[in-house]
Symmetry: C2
Subunit: 283 residues, 2 copies
């Protein structure tokens, strides 16, 4: 016997399997279901359910970690969720989460996992949660096992919004890094020589997000600007010319340059680059 | 008298003025010239030259920090650079620097400043230098005063290449951050609440550049991949859908998604995202 609460986990992809291992290692009774059964049987210590309905019936806390919203719908179609607490860790949009919250009979919490599967169980992994606060508090112990739990609000869409915001920022950084490495390789230099310079530079630039946030929240983009939008646009021409010279596509760089130029054309040359955020809000 | 070597500095914009102050504070005899003379006269301790030729004649080390390559040409047109060491800190492309190296009569060093003017004199500021190694060694003391000096090679274009590569990566990161803040504002949340999450997340993701560099240098993009290109492309659909739901333009996100999709269509689904770098090299 264990005093750890039972969990039903639906979906054993790479992420689901990592979650399952973490809960099993912590002593939680775990009932699993997966569309293709091989993965479930490979999990020593877990009870394998023959159907999603059987898995759902086995625990008060039901966790889904599937391919997409449609798979969650299909998987839960025959299960009785009455009185169950559903936590959906499937990647989705804010609207997906709000929609699901309206449709489930019991309490609902949406989660956005800020980790790749190998990070699960490490101190760096965490999950954004939003939705029913009582559900979060009731299962906080179990939820905190695979990754730290960060509750961001009662609106069920907020976990996905935070998740997507951070992943979008990361994609931008990766795009910039890809362009930088393309430039370096166009000159036949080892990427490894530049990696420490890139890492150091990007790490040093990250804290600028605090200043940008402050400017956005104050609505003041012009006080104490070190490098104005007008200067940034002028300087950016060198980046685009260098890409052309080196035979590197500027497709990842051009949209930022175009956006800054659009903001500048709107008469905002004395601003910081912060104002481009407003240009992106098309309602 | 001082044992610090004399310097001639042409150009007193925000950056030139910051450099001048650093050299004056360190005791270097400094002769300055600026197109509009007011700025030079405001620099206590500097000798103001009436013409670029007069400034160039005053020191063996001549530093230019002007608007662009054309301004450097125009400024130096009437000056005798024979026997002079020229260091150009004007922002330019690798080809600009190589071209100038071919045209000057004396030794030439190109520099790319990795700092905004207020950072000059702080330990975080540094300058990439490339070109004549003897020039760099002869003036290393003076060059290291306003910012740490990092020599990256005899090819005069390498300083600009490194400079532009790092700035391009930064632009990508800023583009990603702008999109993230647009999402946050679309939900009417304070940007300040999300800034620490963004900063922490991006800082945690920066070290991935080491792995990307290793993959590029080894030419192996498929060993030990935690999240394959195929999974990334699938996951990215959620980022684009979220942008659409929230009324945020996807113009900064779309090119990265398109590039990954192009690489995927080329049959590289099992790779890490590293392979997109090769897609950018259009020769």
């Amino acid at each position: 016997m264990t005093d750890k609460e039972p969990i039903a986990l639906l979906g054993l992809g790479a992420m689901g399997t990592a979650l399952a291992r973490a809960w099993l290692a912590a002593g939680h009774p775990l009932t699993v279901w997966n569309r293709t059964p091989g993965r479930a049987e490979a999990l020593a210590g877990a009870t394998v359910a023959a159907t999603p309905a059987e898995a759902v019936a086995a625990a008060g806390l039901v966790v889904t970690c599937l391919l997409d919203g449609a798979s969650v719908d299909a998987t839960l179609a025959g299960a009785d969720l009455t009185g169950k607490d559903l936590v959906d860790l499937t990647t989705g949009t804010p609207a997906d989460a709000r929609d699901r919250a309206r449709r489930v009979p019991g309490r609902f919490l949406d989660g956005g996992i800020m980790a790749v599967p190998p990070m699960i169980g490490s101190p760096d992994a965490y999950v954004f949660y939003s939705g029913d606060r009582d559900l979060f508090d009731a299962h906080r112990g179990a939820l905190g096992v695979p990754a730290a739990a960060r509750y961001v609000g009662t609106d069920p869409g907020l976990a996905a919004l935070h998740d997507v915001a951070l992943l979008s920022a990361m994609d931008g950084m990766f795009a910039g890094v890809a362009h930088a490495f393309a430039l370096i390789r166009s000159a036949r230099l080892p990427a490894g020589d530049v990696a420490p310079l890139l890492a150091e530079w990007l790490t040093a630039m990250v804290p600028s997000v605090y200043r940008t946030a402050e400017q956005l929240d104050r609505g003041d983009y012009t006080t104490g600007v070190a490098s104005s939008l007008a200067m940034q646009v002028a300087g950016n021409a060198t980046l685009l010319r260098t890409a052309a010279e080196q035979g590197v596509s500027d497709e990842l760089l051009r949209p930022w340059a175009d956006l800054m130029a659009r903001r500048l054309a709107g008469g905002h040359g004395a601003e910081d680059t912060t104002g481009v955020v407003d240009e992106l809000l098309i309602g």
